[in-house]
Point group: C2
Chain length 420, copies 2
């Protein structure tokens, strides 16, 4: 019955759909061991538990998997020996015995770190300059239990003038201000409560003005005594509009959303337009994508649409499956269009326009972005400002010539369009 | 008795001291007429009213002064015909008859606009490239009575890679948020109260990395039913430290402060260091200068120190005299040191360092500056973002070489020093 799957990361996001499964082994194996135990736990996805006997998951750790150390009623039967990137396992016990929460903070953390690693490898390969992502691991303060970050940056590449992939893991007690801000958003949380926040975020600033800037992230937040929630998204910020790029990018994420809830894409698309908006400029930042926050569960209706059956499992699982799909889609959603545009010749005027548009990018980040505000509250400034473009220009009151490609872009940014 | 003074703006700030007077004619003449009446009012300064018979004031308007139309017991006796820049007048009636407030909003406004004009002329001359400051006048919304701005920018100069001198005049009703923010700062103001805010602000981004960036402003704020208050300041943001420059700059403003209050300089210097601070970087933005806010009156002690006599006049007058001295000092405090450093040769490494330091400048503006937040609330973004440097770079986690001039600067920014 068991079979082995080996796959490279570009195809990884397609696997659950192709297999018709969402059962996942979340490997706690990470590039460094001291944050993780070496024990395994195999968690259920949602809905398809009873019909699934095989599951695989990528890892890149140097640690070795230990067959037989699975918890919660699953066991690891075999481990692929080739390349160390795939495992196989069989479901041996009713999934209903799996207890909440269906995944641990440590497993989410491992997912982030592993994905960061494979994304950096893939992005450096695509860049092709020979430049690599650095690996800068830092701690939050003196106490390692407060969390850490891994900031990975490639600067001066051919495709990527600057690219950053950051993991951030925060454990702490909610400050008065944060508790208040969360309560204002409908979370009944209290100052002093312990919390966990884990995130992976990417910003790719391409060199060629015809290649759009790419930003994406996923994040998980849980406060002691309440259910956790997810956030994330992915969006494009072009300097020049290629309708085809905007359409393919949106279609990509729509197909992921549609697997989970019929309204999910429309809501996330609208939220993205609403979030990445500069009121003072009356401009949206880019051509959008998806953006979601405070995601704990999907609607009952959409659950059934997605799976056609009743659920006995916590909905957080479904949301995690969605978030995982989104995150594993980051590179496949972006690289094809980046490769399409990277060789278009441009002159100094297009470069200038790019530098000016990057100014808008930064304005949004520093004036409005909630993540930046959150990060500045005790965070590490270099890991926040790493999202800044490498070179930015501001000129006074620049207005593109009517009818120009520059004017066309601005018009779209002022009036977001449906792309699907 | 009357005599005529003609003076160029560099000397203007010295006049009250040189003359031993603070009596001032605030010309309501402005480059455009529709915001001002053509009537005059001559206001008293403080303390020296009885001994002063002569006063002069600069203007640059194309409007003609109308002799004889003075209010409040003063009259305009003569008007200089040469160049249209100086007037003379005589005190004809006891100053005690002058009613509060000792100057009007319109007069403050005229002061701002006139000073802006002379500063732009002087800065363009110093720049020497032939580039001029534009003149961009805009309204706050459809109703002209809500105020306006005059944004003046020089880009691509020889000394000044980008320089902006902005006047902003706001008339409106306090929003809930602003009233709350002000109340939190100890002002018992209520939402809906009408207010006036007038400001002149300068930002000079020099081309040569050895010339510091210069920022300065003055502002007056008054809410219906309460006394107005002043704010302002001037400070330097160098990329390379020249101790002599920091010392002469601080000494310049200390000498102005000392005329008004013995503690004024120390307080304003400390406030400047405290305000221009980036907590996330643990760095002060520059080598400081002075910064003051909520200034309504000086201490009684300092009043006597400054003038040696009792006062019958409102202290707002003294504060306005101080603010005027500060504002008229902007160019004389900066130009000499800019001229000292502008010809020092530099290479690409110094330019790169300058672009990185400009990143800090912008981070402060967008993350922390109260003026930016105030401006964004209904303001005009181009007139706020005009303070942005023309070209800025961000690199990940740059640390200057120990012992280098770059490291020397950072050390000073982390530990503000006394410069007087």
């Amino acid at each position: 019955m068991p079979s082995v799957f080996s796959f490279a990361s570009p195809a990884l996001h397609c696997l659950p759909a192709a297999m018709g499964t969402t059962l996942a082994l979340h490997s706690p194996l990470a590039p460094t061991s001291h944050h993780f135990s070496s024990s395994f736990s195999l968690r259920n996805g949602r809905r398809l538990l009873r019909n699934v006997s095989i599951q695989s998951y990528i890892w890149t750790s140097k640690l070795q998997a230990q067959p037989g150390l699975l918890s919660d009623g699953f066991s690891l039967k075999e481990r692929a020996t080739s390349s160390g990137v795939a495992v196989k396992c069989a479901q041996e016990k009713a999934a209903a015995t799996v207890s909440r929460p269906a995944f641990t903070q440590e497993e989410f953390e491992a997912f982030l770190v592993n994905l960061q690693s494979s994304i950096c490898d893939e992005a450096a390969t695509a860049d092709g300059s020979g430049k690599m992502f650095g690996f800068d691991k830092w701690q939050r303060g003196a106490d390692p239990s407060n969390g850490y970050g891994i900031t990975r940056v490639l600067e001066g590449g051919d495709l990527l003038e600057k690219a950053a992939a950051n993991v951030s893991i925060v454990r702490g007690s909610l400050s008065e201000a944060r508790a208040k801000a969360m309560s204002a958003r409908g979370r009944g949380v209290e100052a002093g409560a312990s919390y966990f926040a884990g995130a992976l975020s990417l910003v790719f600033h391409p060199r060629n003005p015809y290649v759009p800037t790419f930003r994406s992230d996923i994040r998980y937040f849980v406060v002691e005594g309440s259910q956790g929630w997810f956030g994330g998204g992915a969006d494009l910020t072009p300097c020049y509009l290629f309708e085809e790029d905007a359409r393919s990018f949106h279609a990509f994420y729509k197909s992921i959303c549609d697997k989970y809830s019929p309204s999910l894409y429309e809501e996330s698309k609208a939220a993205c337009d609403a979030y990445f908006y500069i009121p003072a400029r009356k401009e949206h930042r880019g051509t959008g994508g998806i953006f979601f926050d405070d995601l704990e569960t999907f609607q009952k209706d959409s659950d059934q649409t997605a799976n056609g059956g009743a659920s006995e499992e916590p909905d957080t699982d479904a949301v995690f499956a969605f978030v995982r799909d989104v995150a594993q889609g980051f590179m496949p959603s972006y690289l094809p269009l980046a490769n399409r545009r990277r060789t278009i010749a441009h002159g100094e005027a297009e470069r200038q326009w790019q530098l000016l548009r990057r100014g808008r990018y930064l304005e949004f980040n520093l004036l409005y972005d909630r993540g930046v505000k959150f990060g500045l509250d005790g965070g590490r400034i270099e890991s926040i400002m790493v999202s800044a473009p490498p070179l930015v220009a501001w000129k006074y009151d620049v207005a593109p010539e009517p009818g120009s490609r520059e004017a066309e872009l601005v018009k779209i940014l002022q009036n977001p369009r449906s792309w699907t």
